[in-house]
Symmetry: C2
Subunit: 196 residues, 2 copies
């Protein structure tokens, strides 16, 4: 009974995000997702552990990408340069599915338990990047501070990128947000003037 | 039956942290905590919603302190200066109970569900400080970046402060960690050299 379903995974994700948006995450069942996708519950569970994991299926891929890009940054790259390279390396992954990311963000913002899951994912990214920086020879607290500052830039970038009125590409917002971080952390007077 | 118990709250917290350290958080019951403190379960539940909240009873106080100190920083303080003032304002609260903080940290590190609760607390601090910066006239993304960088410094500071071999006061580690953040974010070459 495990006949091949063309792009079952993608159809299930599309059906799920539609239903989460229409009815809310809590109110949607796996049976409804499968029905909307024209598939069985059994097929759903071959692809996803539960309805929450539909929204977090790329978490591991993102973590691996961040770790790999941080590790493979040029040997003379500073910690924050390595972290910036990691954020930029995720641009293609995000750009290829902007509508999905935008809808996903709205579902998550509307649901505290999903927000918690997202926080845990972000913390995991920071921990993994810090460990990778240490393996590049960066000492503490510099490794953790560079990693966590990078994740702060990633979060801010992501929120700016999925905003309804945004027209900028992900990579450009990474660069702009990293520049804003430098202004905030160092050129204090400039920030104050800018916002006066 | 609600007779006054001298420092019931403190005795319950002390009993709880002892038991969490000896047996593990999951293996400890409210009945055992009350018994160790020489009090009743009923008294426990007058002070704490559940055994987890014993470890998070100062979360709201810390959030209020951060928000108040950020709001009350001098009008000409930059965002990161206001956030630094907020972190320093918490020094007395922490120093007054360093043994508690140290034991609490070990219990939390040993338990994933407590780590998640701690992450959510930290995220809440960042969100509240960012909102306070916006009310000071700081625009986005600067407000969120200053707040999240500040919380990253707070986390790093806290971990350094509770480390077994630490002899430095909390306030000094805040200042040192904030300086390390500036090195990491801006003086990239210096960080690389330092760790070469």
């Amino acid at each position: 009974m495990s006949r091949w379903e063309p792009d079952a995974r993608g159809r299930l994700q599309q059906a799920a995000i539609e239903l989460y948006t229409e009815r809310g995450f809590e109110q949607t069942t796996v049976a409804e997702i499968a029905e909307r996708a024209g598939l069985t519950e059994r097929t759903f569970f071959r692809h996803f552990a539960d309805k929450r994991e539909v929204l977090f299926d790329r978490s591991n891929a993102l973590l691996e990408l961040f770790v790999e890009s941080t590790a493979n940054a040029p040997a003379d790259a500073s910690p924050i340069e390595a972290v910036t390279a990691a954020l930029l390396s995720a641009a293609d992954m995000f750009e290829s599915r902007r509508p999905w990311s935008t809808e996903r963000q709205k579902v998550i913002v509307a649901n505290p338990s999903l927000q918690e899951r997202e926080l845990i994912k972000m913390a995991g990214l920071g921990i993994a990047v810090a460990a990778t920086l240490r393996s590049r020879g960066v000492a503490e607290p510099h490794a953790s501070l560079a990693a966590e500052a990078g994740i702060a830039v990633f979060r801010v970038t992501f929120e700016r990128w999925v905003a309804d009125d945004n027209i900028l590409p992900f990579a450009e917002i990474v660069t702009d947000s990293m520049a804003a971080l430098k202004v905030v952390v160092v050129d204090a007077a400039a920030t104050t003037r800018q916002n006066a």
